[in-house]
């Protein structure tokens, strides 16, 4: 039983991403904004399991998160797929401090990618109305999310990488 749970720890964390996405803990946010939670799981997963696995789980995450958010016209899948693929090409760094800061930078970049993809979809959908210019100020959503994701990433990603590595270790 212990062996089973140890092996499945990453997937157990995966199940809780939509829950924390719904929970939206205000004490971990700033002015109502939240970090982009799925990246905290996707980065360690992709770094350990590689690009293809990252791509597939990016798709899975996108499917689940799209289903619990109401925006039927817009999707998070392209951003998460791209992030999953790109994160898989990053190797673990031996230096403790550089590794930590790198998680922050990479997650910020991923959050920027996902936010931009989402924003472009909104602009594209409203392009014909000639009202699309009024959506420009909401670019602040991306900036706030990028900042918060980068701020919390070293904390969450480093812990998750440790846990995921532990789950892959063989029992003696």
């Amino acid at each position: 039983m212990y062996k089973f749970f140890k092996k499945k720890i990453p997937l157990i964390f995966f199940v809780f991403i939509p829950i924390i996405f719904l929970w939206h803990p205000s004490w971990l946010g700033f002015l109502g904004f939240q970090p982009y939670w799925p990246l905290f799981w996707l980065l360690p997963w992709s770094m350990i399991n590689g690009s293809m696995s990252g791509l597939v789980f990016g798709l899975f995450l996108g499917l689940i998160l799209d289903s619990i958010t109401l925006a039927g016209n817009f999707t998070q899948i392209p951003g998460l797929i791209l992030c999953g693929f790109l994160f898989g090409r990053i190797k673990l760094h031996s230096d403790f401090w550089i590794g930590h800061f790198r998680y922050g930078l990479v997650c910020s970049f991923g959050s920027f990618l996902c936010g931009t993809f989402y924003f472009l979809q909104i602009l594209f959908k409203n392009f014909s109305d000639s009202n699309f210019l009024m959506f420009i100020p909401s670019f602040q959503n991306i900036l706030a999310e990028v900042f918060l994701t980068g701020f919390f990433a070293p904390l969450f990603c480093s812990q998750l990488i440790r846990i995921f590595k532990f789950s892959r270790r063989k029992l003696h």
Partner: protein, 249 residues
């Protein structure tokens, strides 16, 4: 004769792992099609011990007084108008449903709240949701125990509204920040900062005369229309209890 035969029989469909991935993929497709109702119901039970209590009473009573004064004024005017017309359909608000907010996303792109009443309690897609102050949004999706509400600030929200002072209809569009934009398709509309915006009597999506917000700023980027920022009366980031209106318009 040369006997050509396959040396290796290893194909992707022979791998157990591929089938496991395929089954997982089908499961996620199912979750996507069912709009995450499994997750939402799971979250319902998980968050049950943390649902909001009654401590917001004073804040709510103050907001309610303001709301009722504005509403009374609007209803009087509306009543006079209706008496003149004499052909409007009747609306009844006997079966409103009170619900607690169990999940709240009021920042970023996804602006929605999830309520602890679902299809089991008679909530239907399209029902309007109001809180202390006025309109919050419309029910977009229901599961057995929960219902998800698209807030008027969401980029997905577009509603017909009414500016009472100048008697004109407009379109309220959520843009992903805390103040939705009101579009008036008339350059000559004499709208001013401080004007009151309510749901349109002509709307097919909302019941009439629900307070929505107050004009915050006016911009004229286009020749043929005005863009107006509206400050909402109901504050979705702090409201814990809401009313679901089961009105048939």
């Amino acid at each position: 004769m040369l006997d050509i035969r396959r040396i290796s029989t290893s194909r992707w469909w022979h791998k157990k792992k591929s089938w496991i991935f395929f089954v997982i993929f089908l499961f996620f497709i199912f979750v996507r099609i069912s709009k995450g109702s499994i997750y939402k119901d799971f979250y319902y039970f998980l968050s049950k011990p943390f649902w909001p209590g009654q401590f917001q009473k004073e804040v709510i009573v103050n907001s309610l007084e303001q709301e009722f004064l504005i509403k009374l004024n609007l209803l009087e005017q509306d009543n006079i108008r209706l008496r003149k017309i004499l052909s409007l359909q009747e609306v009844s608000n006997d079966d409103n449903i009170s619900a607690a907010v169990i999940s709240r996303k009021t920042g970023g792109w996804w602006r929605q709240i999830i309520l602890n009443k679902g299809s089991k309690d008679g909530v239907e897609v399209g029902n309007s949701v109001i809180g202390p102050g006025g309109l919050l949004g419309r029910v977009n999706n229901t599961s057995l125990f929960t219902s998800s509400v698209t807030l008027v600030t969401s980029p997905d929200s577009k509603l017909g509204v009414w500016v009472d002072r100048i008697q004109i209809n407009g379109l309220l569009v959520g843009v992903g920040d805390d103040s939705p934009n009101l579009i008036l398709f008339s350059k000559d509309a004499d709208i001013k900062v401080g004007d009151f915006v309510s749901s349109s009597p002509a709307s097919t999506l909302l019941p009439p005369n629900i307070p929505i917000g107050i004009v915050q700023s006016i911009d004229e980027p286009f020749k043929e229309k005005k863009m107006i920022k509206v400050s909402l009366l109901a504050k979705p980031h702090s409201i814990d209890w809401v009313q679901i209106l089961k009105l048939k318009i």
